[in-house]
């Protein structure tokens, strides 16, 4: 399978008043052509920062560290100048944001905002052509009364419609890669399903790859070809949807799955939560970052970073529990030793 995007050893830090916040600490992954990759993890784990760095949108005081490599269709993006990024952003790769209300310019008509990508990258088109293409894209997203919608301001539309508008903005140039940063978090559950369906539909039509970022595992269950679980700036486990949902190996992944409330839970089941907080990213722990919250932590977890174990080609995990010497008593998941 052809690789569209390769990320190697990406590290991003924010140099703040209080110190160097290491948001992303040396992650590596690929995105395949036409496939959907999900980046999953709780707030603060570094998924949004990762997404931004793929588009060159990390700004002072943030810095993509020099050892990072981002390779898109064989070209290295990490050295790009601003000009080069501008030809990449919106044309090859587009981004859809979490809250359309704040991600759309409140004083600009929606039609103009959809047209913006075209204006930037296909400036040879006439005004009329730009309008038609924008309208066409908007129609594809399924908004009622697309012509009327083009003339409205963002605050005049409903949440679901706004999200569709954002998708139209991103897709109007038929990019190869779509990055969706929490696209459904701000929406009602029913609308969520519609938006996901829309993205899948467009993906099929245009053959593009999607990186979807979310903390909601339920959302990715259907969509994702590959799921990457992040914690405290590192990748703790990755695999196909099947691997993650049925054969998870990392305690964090397991805890995440446990904390999703289920409709068939008994009435009085206490909602599972993961105790504790993410570690201080200015002084990240030297061992496994999940150690302080892990119910199965061992001494070595505090001392050394776990090595990555490749269970299959697609499924890998970074956890000391995979080591044959590990104390696996009481661990309710994983490692059916083969």
């Amino acid at each position: 399978m052809e690789k569209l995007l390769e990320v190697e050893n990406l590290s991003v830090s924010y140099f703040t008043y209080a110190g160097e916040v290491q948001s992303v600490r040396g992650i590596s992954f690929d995105v395949k052509k036409g496939k959907t990759t999900a980046l999953v993890g709780e707030s603060g784990c570094g998924k949004s920062v990762t997404a931004k760095s793929l588009m060159g949108l990390i700004e002072k005081p943030g810095k993509v560290k020099p050892e990072s490599k981002i390779i898109y269709q064989g070209k290295e993006l990490t050295g790009y100048t601003e000009k080069e990024w501008n030809t990449f952003r919106g044309k090859e790769c587009s981004m859809v944001f979490q809250d359309a209300l704040v991600s759309l310019n409140p004083t600009m008509k929606v039609g103009k905002q959809i047209a913006e990508n075209l204006k930037n990258h296909e400036s040879s088109l006439s005004k009329e052509e730009i309008y038609q293409k924008s309208l066409e894209m908007l129609k594809q997203t399924g908004v009622p009364d697309p012509e009327g919608c083009m003339n409205k301001y963002p605050h005049e539309l409903s949440g679901g419609m706004r999200q569709r508008v954002m998708i139209a903005c991103a897709m109007v140039t038929h990019p190869q890669l779509l990055i969706a940063d929490e696209p459904t978090t701000a929406l009602d559950v029913t609308i969520q399903a519609q938006i996901i369906a829309l993205m899948e539909e467009l993906q099929e039509k245009l053959g593009m790859s999607i990186i979807i970022i979310t903390h909601d595992l339920g959302v990715v269950a259907d969509m994702a070809d590959e799921i990457i679980v992040m914690y405290a700036g590192e990748i703790v486990e990755r695999g196909t949807a099947r691997d993650i949902f049925y054969h998870q190996q990392h305690p964090y992944t397991w805890a995440l799955l446990q904390s999703v409330p289920r409709i068939d839970d008994e009435d009085k089941t206490i909602l599972n939560t993961i105790e504790g907080n993410i570690p201080d990213m200015i002084y990240p722990p030297k061992g496994c970052s999940f150690c302080t919250r892990c119910p199965y932590a061992m001494k070595i977890c505090e001392e050394e970073k776990p090595k990555v174990t490749h269970i299959t080609d697609e499924h890998s995990v970074a956890c000391w529990l995979m080591d044959p010497r590990a104390d696996r008593s009481g661990v309710p998941f994983g490692r059916t030793d083969a």
Binding site: A18, T292, Y296, A297, I300
Partner: protein, 299 residues
């Protein structure tokens, strides 16, 4: 042999919460000393202030007319030269500084007291009191202050006190606005509610709890207020409506310098530069203080 490192640990080390220690004064001190601009401003201000205070040490009498020596240029004997009456210009500049700075400080103090009192009262009591006081403040904000100051100064008996009073009259409204906003946010805090529940009277609460916590923006306003007052005073004195002869401030020195723009331009340059440096320093200081007081994560 089981590797002991792979033994499950029962008690996990919770990561120690790093305490982020800060207080308003520490913030201010840190910012002031690390910020080069602030340091330079403070040094300039100290030089000017101390020089003005030491003015009586000068061997020259700022008011003694000595026509024989009039309009001399810069020399070792007269660092700023002499003016059209033969008086040592440097000494006059120092004495002028005393007046300008005094007016600036005093009017700032009056402004701050008035503005804070009204602002706190308005913010703390709310309701009708607030509405009434705010309408009152709005009117003062809307009035074209410079204009009316000119008019007032024409009408009233000229003098230092009039000048200071009039300057304060048109500056307190700004401070009142700021302190009212700050008071309204502070009064909802728990320690105020607690104090009230313990039976503390309003005045006591105001002094003990509210005032210390709104000092930040008030200090900023004070610094900017001095800058503004000095500027306005110099304008008024330039027009002949501020300080009267024989007392001279930098502004009134500029007025007399007008007549000699062509033959002795330095008469205009020196007081102006002094005003510029003083006002600029206060403005920069005020701005640095303002950024220092913005909420930040501190180590």
């Amino acid at each position: 042999m089981t590797d002991t490192r792979f033994k499950r640990i029962e008690k996990k080390k919770t990561q120690e919460l790093i305490s982020y220690d800060h207080s308003v004064w520490k913030d201010i001190k840190k910012e002031l000393f690390s910020n080069k601009i602030a340091l330079v401003s403070i040094i300039i201000l100290l030089i000017i202030i101390i020089a003005s205070i030491l003015a009586p040490l000068s061997p020259y009498d700022p008011n003694k007319i000595n026509v024989a020596e009039k309009l001399q240029g810069i020399s070792a004997k007269h660092i700023f030269g002499t003016d059209e009456y033969g008086r040592d210009y440097f000494t006059r500049a120092l004495y002028g500084g005393r007046i300008s700075l005094t007016v600036g400080f005093c009017s700032m103090i009056m402004t701050v007291i008035l503005g804070t009192a009204i602002g706190i009262t308005s913010g703390y009591f709310g309701g009708k009191v607030d509405m009434f006081l705010m309408r009152f403040t709005d009117i003062f904000l809307a009035l074209p202050s410079m204009l009316l100051m000119v008019v007032l100064n024409t009408i009233l008996r000229p003098g230092l006190f009039t000048l200071i009073a009039v300057l304060s009259l048109f500056s307190w409204a700004q401070v009142a606005r700021i302190t009212r906003a700050e008071t309204m946010s502070v009064k909802e805090r728990d320690y105020v509610t607690a104090a009230r529940n313990l039976g503390a009277g309003s005045f006591r609460i105001a002094v003990e709890h509210i005032v210390p916590n709104i000092m930040g923006p008030v200090i900023v306003a004070a610094s900017l207020g001095i800058a503004n007052a000095i500027l306005m005073e110099s304008s008024l004195s330039f027009l002949g409506l501020g300080v009267q002869i024989p007392r001279a401030s930098w502004g009134s020195m500029l007025q007399s310098a007008q007549g000699h723009i062509l033959d002795a331009p330095r008469l205009a340059v020196f007081p102006g530069v002094l005003i510029l440096c003083t006002v600029l320093s206060f403005n920069l200081l005020g701005d640095v203080l303002r950024t220092a007081l913005e909420p930040k994560i501190v180590k």
